[in-house]
Amino acid sequence: MSPTEGKFPLAQHFSDPEQQLDSNKLGMWLFLVTEILLFGGLFCAYIIFRSLHPVAFHECHKLLDWKLGGINTVVLLISSLTAALAIRAAQVNDKAGIKLNIIITILCAVTFMVIKLVFEWPAKFDHGYLPGYNFMGHVANPDQAHIFFGLYFLMTGLHGIHVVIGIILFSWLLIKTYKGQFHSGWWQPLELGGLYWHVVDLIWIFLFPLFYLAG
């Protein structure tokens, strides 16, 4: 199970490769637990306000563009696939494969942000569907609609920040790939980056139906 081909970059405070691999993986999983708890609070708020204002939430969800949201969902799923394929490419020393898959991952992430920030959100703003006290859309229940849109922008916004962090992370991994640092003897950073990216994707998989689809 321990990598044998290629040079394994053993950090000086670890006694052997297995300890380093295990430690890094446990560390990343712990961090991901904190991310789940972070978003968990927001999902909690969503559940509470949805159960308080079911009619308003139902009306408001129709104002979201489920087609664009759906495209974004597919885009993120593809990016998760390519993130995993990049790991596979490293395992078989396919350096070109690593580069290609990481680039597609980044492009998908950028596409996601563009669809959101260029097509989705401005369209909302034009209609007056803004978070909080800026809300001035023409809806049946404006007093509760602003809470829906507040939560919508907060949750997709925080998620979007995590997507941008993912873009930066994978760019950094791409640079390391060009330097030849990933091969069949060492690919863990790709794996850990992939784990982070899968959690970000997973959060979107919950966000999309709850906001765009749930009627």
Partner: protein, 546 residues
Amino acid sequence: MTETTAAAHVGHDHGHDHAHGEEPNYLQASHGLKSWIFTVDHKRLGVMYLAAVSFFFFVGGLAALLVRTELLTHTKTIMDADTYNRFFTVHGAIMVFLVIIPSVPAGLGNFVLPLQLGAKDVAFPKLNLLSFWVYCTGAVMAVSAILIGGVDTGWTFYTPYSSTTSGSVVMMVAAVFVLGFSSIFTGMNFIVTIHKLRPPGMTWFKMPLFLWGIYSTSIIQVMATPVLAITLLLLIMERVIKVGIFDPALGGDPVLFQHFFWFYSHPAVYIMILPGMAVMSDMIAAFTKKRVFGYRFVAFSSLAIAVISFIVWGHHMFVSGQSELSSMVFSFLTFLVAIPSGVKVFNWIATMYQGSVSFETPMLYALSFLFLFSIGGLTGIFLGTLSVDVHLHDTYFVVAHFHYVMMGGTIMAFFGGLYYWWPKITGKMYFERTGQIAAIMVFIGFNLTFFTQFFLGSRGMPRRYYNYLAEFEDLHKLSTFGAYFLFAGLLLSLGTLVHSLLKGPKAPANPWGAKTLEWTHTASPPIEHNFHETPHAPAAPYDYDT
């Protein structure tokens, strides 16, 4: 497939005053400001945390003295009402987030954990460095908030006041948000270190109880702090774009904020006490020269506290309007969480029975803890009792309770740990007599200050009040006098330690004859890489000959 590490060493003491081949200690290993700013050595980071925590303890303490001085008379004494609100907020926020939470884990824990485990460093040394600078960033932000505009919401930031009042609430809340990351990174580091970096022979049940306590604390840090992060983010958003989650004027629910806030902040108080209890086990063992009684019970009680701590938050909200059923459930669970704490206290006492007890300064702090934490914990049960809490909620009784556990508990243990590990950290011995006198002064001053407040509270004095009924003035005067006496004792205590740096004699490797790895296998102070060879765990956690 794992290559074996160095040969096992069992039995005798390996700490020497002279290192093999004259290897310098960690303080001398490199020089210059950059070698400290960019250090990844857990020992240097621990020292820097200790310095920062001590500094902010002093600042928060000054704020407390100003609050107590204002309360000398029942009307205005030295400041107006708005300033008073700012000072008690500053005192609480600094003490909770900048002092107590990092004190034992990040200060003492960073230094001791790898040494006691038998590891070269923590699992992620660079993350450790990041954790410290994130702490500093949060500290600067908090100080800025205080200086620019101030915050008068209390450290609990209840809405809708906190979402509508003027002042630097956003900056202060953002500071706490940043500080939370420091806490999370430390917790992550410690969990992975304890799981993965144990040397040969160091199984879970060979670990000293200090490590069990720090481990349990780290679990809470990792799981609870993100909820605080999102709560604070939501509060900022409520202020900035008026989302409408917490402010009833906007369609929100202020009690929802309390649920969110206390879901973190209750486990947070166990982040504060568990490390103190962790230090207690090691001190009691060392100064009674005996294995801790009921080792497994004490170990599991730390985990039990960590788990149960997550399901009692509603006991801060008995009078908030939540349902009677939830209040009853939270009350019952609160009684439950006291049991593991009781287990520890009785096991420590049982450890002392027929032990060879000595009364050096660390032990005086440990004995203070035993007495003061017991009072604090017991009064927590009083407050957890529904019918009683209705009368005592938001009175000085609550203030006295939490000072008994947070200061009488954690800070006493922190000082005890600081004195206990001082020779290891600095290589110097402090002057015992002044250390002991200071510890006694602190104990007396503490009780004068805070026992009085139980009476104030049970007689109806509300907390956070600037002016109060004249009938409470005498008790307030007594409490304030106690505070000044306590402050003098703390000054003497810190002064004793500072004096040792300048004039103290060189410390031996193991002045206490303790049996844990940091004492038996490292020099005082240790070399940069801690051990000359990977140590093997002793036969038992506190391997005294009994």
